[in-house]
């Protein structure tokens, strides 16, 4: 029974194939049922595999299923083989579970879209690629999935490709990803050079066997992490994620919150032995994660587009996951990935529900007081916001706290401080969003107000389910203060991810840290309450006092403009120069030149064809002279 896990990616793959071939002819209802059902079946298989995994002893991890040898070229070989262990199990369950709920939600959200079938084709294709990524047993196959989700991200972000901004956003996402992938590929190649194989089991054996020098390991880890910054939107390659909000909201929920962007975190966790072995790389990861967390949180403070706030929030939360991985608490990072999947996708889907209710409005300045009208969306949204803020007893609290505590315990105080500051900002901007959208004065457009309605059940039920999990999902990872056994999550992952080495704090210190986190979260919420409900004039006053800072934050620190000026435009200009001077002049020149040379010779030769018989006979004579001459000698 435990060997059926390799089927998990192929069910959505089959559905994709059917949709590609016959999608146009199938009625909408069939498409909906097929797409959702295929992911659900994957989920069931994942569940079965997970349960049977619980029964098998940890010594046999990971369970590998080699389908066939895919590439075999000399000493380089890569197999189409999958592996299943606790880490894969967690990722597979998250992808299929949350993915299924988002598929169901999409049935309602995209119901009036003219490219309904194309949407589900891409969505299933994405699920397939993501599952390949998390279930692969070697880096090459994982990279296949990595590229596959990048492609689907491009396709889905630019889903409404007639809109220029959407098409550009898709292009941007893919290109920025590609830059990160350059580092990733180099990392894979170096691993190959060092280890001779890209199978995870082989790599781990090589590391524990000391076959790789520490410097080399650091280099590889950094290269791989560059790939992760691209895929998981960290500094400096995060710029594509906010623009990616051009895509449909369920896409943002699935790809840019729960699954694709977490691929970088998964990869780092999968290679945890490498990162731990090279201490420097881990520090870099943690630092980048912390800086990203703060940086993105500051930008979320000023956004008026409801989805952009959530996008920056995602970048920020991914930073937290990398903090966890960077300080050595990979299990905590994965734990946050797991809880974040629930509440972030919940937040996105609920935002989509709000937009759906308001006929597509996404500017928060034109919302307000909606909680009376949206009896399902409001509570679920609120639960998501509370969870992400880190209020105790919801899932976000457990995971964020685990990360911050471990950061402190590992002595990374700077990182811990940044993380704490980020936590206040997180609570603040999330509740700013809540208060602006659902409370206070109504600032709705009259047209929107006329059509205001709660979303259909097919959309609100996934919201409710996700809200439920946002609350309870954290209980599998209770803080260690309550006893070593309490953190089921970490224990489950232990065979794959050894817990962080030192990292024992006294009970008192641990409780203090927990209380600080809680206080910080509540403080953030309170400040938001004051700013946006009690005395809404305060934000205006602040903006008036420090217009420079506000402008900087509102314009996202002008990072996009800087990139454009320094990198994009020179490259475009450079390629134009090369185009004119080389492509047109040299290559086209050579081509046209050879054509005109041929023409020239043709014309020259045709001068021989005078039409006079005498001249032709002259040539005969010449030929005869030559032939007789040859025959003579």
């Amino acid at each position: 029974m435990k060997d059926i896990f390799w089927l998990i990616p192929f069910v959505p793959a089959l559905s994709t194939l059917v949709l590609v071939l016959f999608g146009r002819k199938l009625p909408k209802k069939v498409v909906s049922w097929q797409a959702c059902l295929s992911v659900f079946i994957s989920f069931i298989i994942a569940l079965i595999s997970f349960l049977s995994l619980l029964k098998t002893p940890p010594e046999s991890y990971p369970i590998v299923k080699n389908l066939f040898t895919w590439i075999s070229a000399g000493s380089f070989s890569a197999n189409l083989s999958f592996q299943f262990d606790p880490l894969s199990a967690v990722m597979a369950l998250v992808v299929t579970g949350v993915g299924f709920l988002i598929h169901v939600y999409s049935v309602g959200y995209m119901a009036h879209d003219k490219s309904y079938t194309r949407y589900f084709t891409y969505l299933n294709l994405f699920t397939f690629a993501m599952l390949i990524l998390v279930l692969a047993s070697n880096m090459i196959l994982m990279f296949v999935g990595w590229e596959g989700v990048g492609l689907c991200s491009y396709l889905l972000i630019g889903f409404w490709f007639e809109k220029h901004s959407a098409a550009n956003a898709g292009k941007k996402a893919f290109i920025v990803n590609r830059i990160g992938d350059a580092g990733f590929i180099l990392g894979i190649l170096f691993i190959f050079l060092a280890v001779g194989s890209s199978e995870f089991t082989a790599v781990n054996q090589a590391i524990s066997g000391g076959l790789i020098a520490r410097g080399g390991a650091t280099l590889i880890a950094i290269l791989l992490f560059i790939g992760a910054t691209g895929k998981s939107a960290q500094l400096p390659l995060y710029i594509w994620l906010p623009d990616a909000m051009e895509g449909p909201t369920p896409v943002s929920a699935l790809i840019h919150a729960a699954t694709m962007v977490t691929a970088g975190v998964y990869m780092v966790a999968r290679m945890n032995l490498l990162f731990t072995y090279s201490g420097t790389a881990g520090n870099i990861v943690a630092l980048v994660g912390a800086l990203t967390a703060i940086f993105a949180a500051t930008m979320a403070l000023t956004q008026n587009d409801i989805k952009r706030v959530l996008a920056y929030s995602t970048i920020s939360q991914l930073g937290y996951m990398f903090i966890g991985c960077g300080v050595g608490a990979y299990a905590a990072g994965i734990f946050h990935l797991y809880t974040h999947a629930f509440f972030k996708s919940l937040l996105f889907l609920a935002a989509g529900s709000v937009m759906h209710a308001l006929s597509g409005e996404l500017d928060m300045r034109k919302m307000g007081g909606l909680r009376k009208y949206l009896p399902w969306t409001y509570p679920t949204f609120l639960i998501g916001a509370i969870a992400i803020a880190g209020v105790p007893f919801l899932s976000g609290f457990f995971s964020k706290d685990a990360i911050l505590t471990q950061a402190y315990a590992q002595g990374q105080y700077f990182v811990w401080a940044l993380g704490l500051m980020g936590a206040i900002l997180t609570a603040f901007y999330m509740f700013r969003l809540i208060f602006l959208t659902f409370h206070g004065k109504e600032r709705l457009e009259p047209e929107a107000k006329k059509h205001l309605h709660e979303s259909p059940k097919v959309m609100t039920i996934p919201l409710a389910i996700l809200a439920f999990f946002s609350i309870v999902a954290g209980y599998v990872g209770l803080p260690v203060v309550l006893g070593k056994k309490a953190n089921l999550f970490q224990n489950f992952l232990e065979p794959v991810i050894p817990p962080a080495s030192e990292g024992h704090l006294s009970m008192g210190l641990e409780w203090t840290l927990i209380l600080i986190s809680v206080a910080v979260a509540l403080l953030g919420i309170y400040i938001a309450y004051v700013f946006y409900l009690k005395r809404p004039d305060i934000p205006h006053n602040i903006v008036r006092r420090i217009p420079g800072v506000y402008k900087l934050l509102y314009n996202k620190y002008y990072v996009d403009e800087a990139y454009n000026a320094v990198i994009v435009n020179p490259l475009v200009k450079g390629s134009e120069v090369i185009y004119e001077n080389f492509d047109l002049a040299v290559i086209d020149g050579a081509l046209n030149g050879s054509a005109s040379a041929t023409g020239f010779f043709g014309r020259a030769l045709s001068a021989l064809q005078t039409g006079y018989v005498k001249d032709y006979v002259l040539v005969f004579l010449l030929g005869a002279v030559i032939i007789v001459g040859i025959l003579l000698f």
């Binding site: 002279v625 025959l631 003579l632």
Partner: protein
């Protein structure tokens, strides 16, 4: 005796050809050519091929050249044409012709010429060969002649006015 005849005939022949080249009047050129062919016929006779000599005179001098003269008369050009104007083609062709001359002489020098026995070849021998070994070409040639005959007539026939 034979040598004297040979030199006489060959001189007249070459002279006639030269005359044909130099003459501006086509009718004169044709007549010179007739003379040349008759000389050739004589030369054939010297070579012990009396049948061929007669055939040459009858057909070439007697039939083909007559055809030529008919056509010349039909075309009825008032004056002849002066020789070629473009000098360089003449020069080039002369050069090449001379080169060819030399080459061919050289080739001929190297040819192995056996002793020629006395006696001429009778028509009987030619006939024997013609109707046994070369029967097939003989028959084909007859078809060829018919084709030429019909062709010439069809080509020159005036179209009926519709």
């Amino acid at each position: 005796m034979a040598i004297f005849l040979f030199f006489l005939l060959s001189t007249v022949c070459v002279g006639a050809v030269l005359g044909m080249i130099i003459s501006k009047n086509q009718a004169y050129s044709a007549l010179f050519l007739v003379l040349a062919f008759v000389c050739l016929g004589g030369l054939f006779g010297l070579l012990g091929a009396p049948f061929m000599a007669v055939v040459q005179i009858i057909i070439y001098a007697g039939a083909i050249m007559v055809l030529f003269i008919f056509v010349i008369m039909m075309i009825n050009l008032r004056q002849g044409l002066s020789p070629e104007k473009k000098k360089w083609t003449i020069a080039l062709s002369l050069v090449l012709a001379l080169v060819l001359l030399l080459e061919l002489i050289l080739a001929a020098k190297g040819a192995s010429l056996g002793q020629s026995p006395e006696g001429s070849v009778s028509p009987k021998e030619i006939g024997q060969l013609l109707f046994t070994k070369y029967l097939y070409p003989f028959e084909i040639t007859s078809i060829l002649i018919i084709a030429a005959l019909v062709g010439a007539i069809v080509l020159v026939k005036k179209r009926e006015k519709e």
